[in-house]
Symmetry: C2
């Protein structure tokens, strides 16, 4: 089998949020997460054309405060629950700390996009944005 | 605003598929994609513990044959349709060529996981695996 290979991701923008630390952030977006702003890097603004207010989109974040060496966790940090592999959980601690966030677009102002609900903290890099495919993402 | 920053992704495994080129691959997994095998790097096997046959999971791939400089595309390659920003499409050509694939686990043999349907080509790196969160991914 091929050895592990590295690839270079680039931020396309950053999150501005009232959430300033992991301890303030809800574990999932449906657990009371606030709205936040995506500040797109101006050079990627053309790539955003075609997305509208009220649409749902998927943000992929780089959870930059995560611990990448962690392979097993207690689900939801509850030590009374048996440890599971991180790929069986949505833990931010994982080999590649990518976050998947389904959010609604509330407002678009030039390169700033207001979305909700979003559980990531202020300063989190965004690396991709995708539309929802009803037939594939919502089976 | 902060400038674009780079991050290092690592492959956690690779896809083995009968699909050998982009021209053979369906555009979406619900358009007749075959099964495929994820060959997990042995050092990440512990991270997979807790995932079972018949479960649906999300694979995140690195679409290594993509063109990262593309910001606008004709949806589905149809030049009769107006160009859209790549973030409004699921085009593999995009600044960070991450693929999102919702698949069913059909079989698990040590570090090899048979999944379907999967539209990516043989040799595609996998960078993350996540469980489905009904309340968040399927709103």
């Amino acid at each position: 089998m091929a050895d592990s290979i590295n690839y270079l991701l680039q931020s396309i923008g950053f999150i501005r949020s009232e959430l300033k630390s992991r301890s303030e952030a809800p574990r999932q977006n449906y657990e009371g997460a606030p709205h936040a702003w995506v500040e797109l890097d101006a050079k990627f603004l053309n790539a955003f054309e075609g997305i509208s207010v009220d649409e749902e989109i998927i943000l992929i974040s780089w959870l930059h405060k995560s611990r990448r060496e962690v392979l097993k966790v207690h689900p939801r940090g509850r030590i009374d629950l048996p440890e599971m592999g991180v790929f069986a959980t949505r833990s931010p601690d994982r080999p590649n700390p990518l976050g998947l966030h389904r959010v609604k677009v509330l407002e678009i102002r030039e390169n700033k996009i207001k979305v909700a609900p979003l559980e990531v903290i202020d300063g989190t890099p965004i690396v991709d944005i995708k539309p929802i495919l009803k037939k594939s993402d919502d089976r």
